[in-house]
């Protein structure tokens, strides 16, 4: 009888773990941001040349991506541009990368802290940079890191890019 009781206790431990962690998994899934990647594995993977990368980077504007030095192309929505610009002002990205901010859902935008601002209302640039669709639909928010040779080495959706520019710097610093 005692052995049977012990086995039951072990089964209860298993069941508690299954239900508890299962509920946490469901809660985590429900709490995801509409701007997140539909597949979280591809959001902020943290390493260069993921998937089919590197691929040649399309031109964003004349001289962008810059020749011979890294370029960070940030995709942002117009209503969040001011917050990103404030963050860029205080940011110290390594290697002095050229920074281009692409305002994806307006014809143009203004951001003195960025080298170049271009509009992309049709999302053609976002598509050409291979940014993945967001969970909630709509223009993607994220960035791509282009090396000095003009190849995209890293790209990700990142709804909190303005708060995580240090992470952008980490990826720029990882370029060979």
């Amino acid at each position: 009888m005692r052995g049977l009781r012990l086995d039951r206790r072990l089964a209860v431990i298993w069941l508690l773990a299954a239900v508890g962690l299962g509920l946490l998994l469901v809660a985590a899934r429900l709490a995801r941001d509409p701007l997140d990647d539909r597949d979280p594995a591809w959001q902020r993977p943290g390493f260069l040349d993921a998937g089919e990368l590197p691929v040649p980077a399309p031109q964003v504007a004349p001289g962008v991506p810059a020749d011979g030095r890294p370029t960070v192309v940030i995709f942002e929505r117009a209503d969040r541009l001011a917050q990103l610009c404030r963050a860029l002002k205080g940011a110290a990205l390594p290697g002095r990368p050229a920074t281009a901010v692409v305002v994806v859902d307006a014809t143009t935008g203004r951001c003195d802290a960025a080298g170049t601002v271009v509009g992309d209302p049709e999302r053609a640039l976002a598509r050409s940079y291979g940014l993945r669709p967001t969970r909630g639909g709509g223009p993607p928010v994220g960035y791509a890191v282009v090396d000095g040779g003009g190849a995209i080495r890293y790209r990700t959706l990142d709804p909190a890019v303005a708060d995580q520019l240090a992470e952008v710097g980490t990826m720029v610093a990882a370029l060979p």
Binding site: R2, G3, L6, D7, R9, L10, A11, I13, W14, A17, A18, L21, G22, L24, L25, A28, A31, R32, D33, D36, D39, P40, A41, Q43, R44, P45, G46, F47, L48, D158, P159, A160, Q164, A166, E167, G169, T170, M171, A173, A174
Partner: protein
Amino acid sequence: MTTPVAAEGAGRALRLCLWCVVAVVAEVGLYASYRGHDARFHWFTHFFVGASFALVVMAVVALRRRRAVPVPLVWPFIAHVVAMFPDFLFAAGIAHQRWMDVFLGHISTHFVPGRNLTWFVVFLLALGFYLAVLGRVSPVQEDPDQRFTGSVTGGRS
């Protein structure tokens, strides 16, 4: 009046509870070490992978020793820390590289089909295996320093 046996049982349960609280607090600490709201995904992957690895090792060790392993809540935590170690480096400004898969598949485990659901199933299988082994080996109560594991890991005695 409380009997000595009941008091010992209550003491064991209390110690176990304490270890559970410590483990939960430690895991919350690991979760908090991630920046960004999408940290949950990474935490789950490395927790499931690390804990599954630890549970299989614990089961094998228990089978070989014919006795439950001591401090069973510490093993999955340590394996979790190993699995997510590159994320500590990332927070310090060092990007991931593919060789970091040596940390329990830190890079490639994110990309398995089914993602975290797959690892959840693997974790439940590993936990089931470990618990099944526990039902067939002696608890660690013989070791006075490790008695607190007896109630969780208690197999047939």
